[in-house]
Assembly symmetry: C2
Homo-oligomer: 126 residues x 2
C-alpha cells in the first residue's frame, strides 16, 4: 500500500517548479492527455511521493481557489525548515504561523503556498 496526496492546482508545471525550488522536490513521472495537456506530475519530496493535477471542474478536480480553501494540512519534515519556509515565501507563499521552536519539541510553522495548499513545515528544534 502507498498513499500519495494529489494536489489540484491551476497549472501542474508551475506548481512543480515551485515545489522543486522551495522544497527540493524531484519530478519522477508525468502523464499528458492526447492533446498534450499535463494531467499529472508525480514528485518526490524527500522520500515521499506527492502528485499534482490540474483543476478540471467537470471531474470534480477543484483547486483551493475553486473550493475556497483546503481541509488538508501537508505536514512536511525538513532538516532546514527555516530555509524551506523562506523559499516558499520568496516564491509567492504566505506565512500563516511563523517557524518557531514549539513546546512540544518541534521547530515548525504553517504556510499557504501560492496555489492555496496548506503546509506545516516542521523539523527538529534548533
Amino acid at each position: 500500500m502507498s498513499l500519495t496526496p494529489r494536489l489540484i492546482v491551476p497549472d501542474p508545471d508551475t506548481a512543480a517548479a515551485y515545489y522543486q525550488k522551495a522544497m527540493g522536490a524531484e519530478e519522477v513521472f508525468r502523464a499528458q492527455d492526447e492533446s498534450g495537456r499535463v494531467m499529472v506530475v508525480v514528485l518526490r519530496v524527500g522520500g515521499s511521493p506527492l502528485s499534482l493535477s490540474p483543476a478540471v471542474t467537470d471531474w470534480g478536480w477543484l483547486s483551493p481557489d475553486d473550493v475556497g480553501g483546503s481541509p488538508v494540512l501537508l505536514e512536511a519534515e525538513f532538516d532546514d525548515q527555516d530555509a524551506v519556509a523562506a523559499r516558499m515565501v520568496e516564491g509567492g507563499g504566505t506565512v500563516v504561523v511563523p517557524v518557531e521552536n514549539r513546546p512540544y519539541g518541534k521547530r515548525e510553522g504553517r504556510l499557504r503556498d501560492p496555489f492555496g495548499h496548506l503546509w506545516i513545515v516542521t523539523g527538529d528544534l534548533r
Copy 2:
C-alpha cells in the same frame, strides 16, 4: 524528509475508526490537549502515515464541510481495492467514480468518505 497528509475532520476518533475498518489503518500515536481533547491521531495505512485533527476554526483548521469540499485527492493503493471501496461505502462513504479497470493499466475508482475527504482507491488490474 517525510510528508504526512493531515486530514481535518469533525471528530478524529470517529474518523480513525472508519479508516481502520475500511482500509486496515493502524493507530500509531495520539496527542491530547490539557482538557483531554484529541488534537491529532496518527495512523499508518499500509506503509504510509496519515494523521487526523479536529476542526478548529480559530486556527484555520477547517473540515471539508467547513470549506465546502477538498482540493486534495488521497490516492491510496491496495491489493483489494474493491473490498476497500465496499467497506468505505458501508461506513457511510459515497462512490464518485466506480472501481473499474482503466485503460491506463490500473483498477481504480474515486470515493468521498463520510467526512468529505476524497480518495482515489487504486491498485493493479484484475
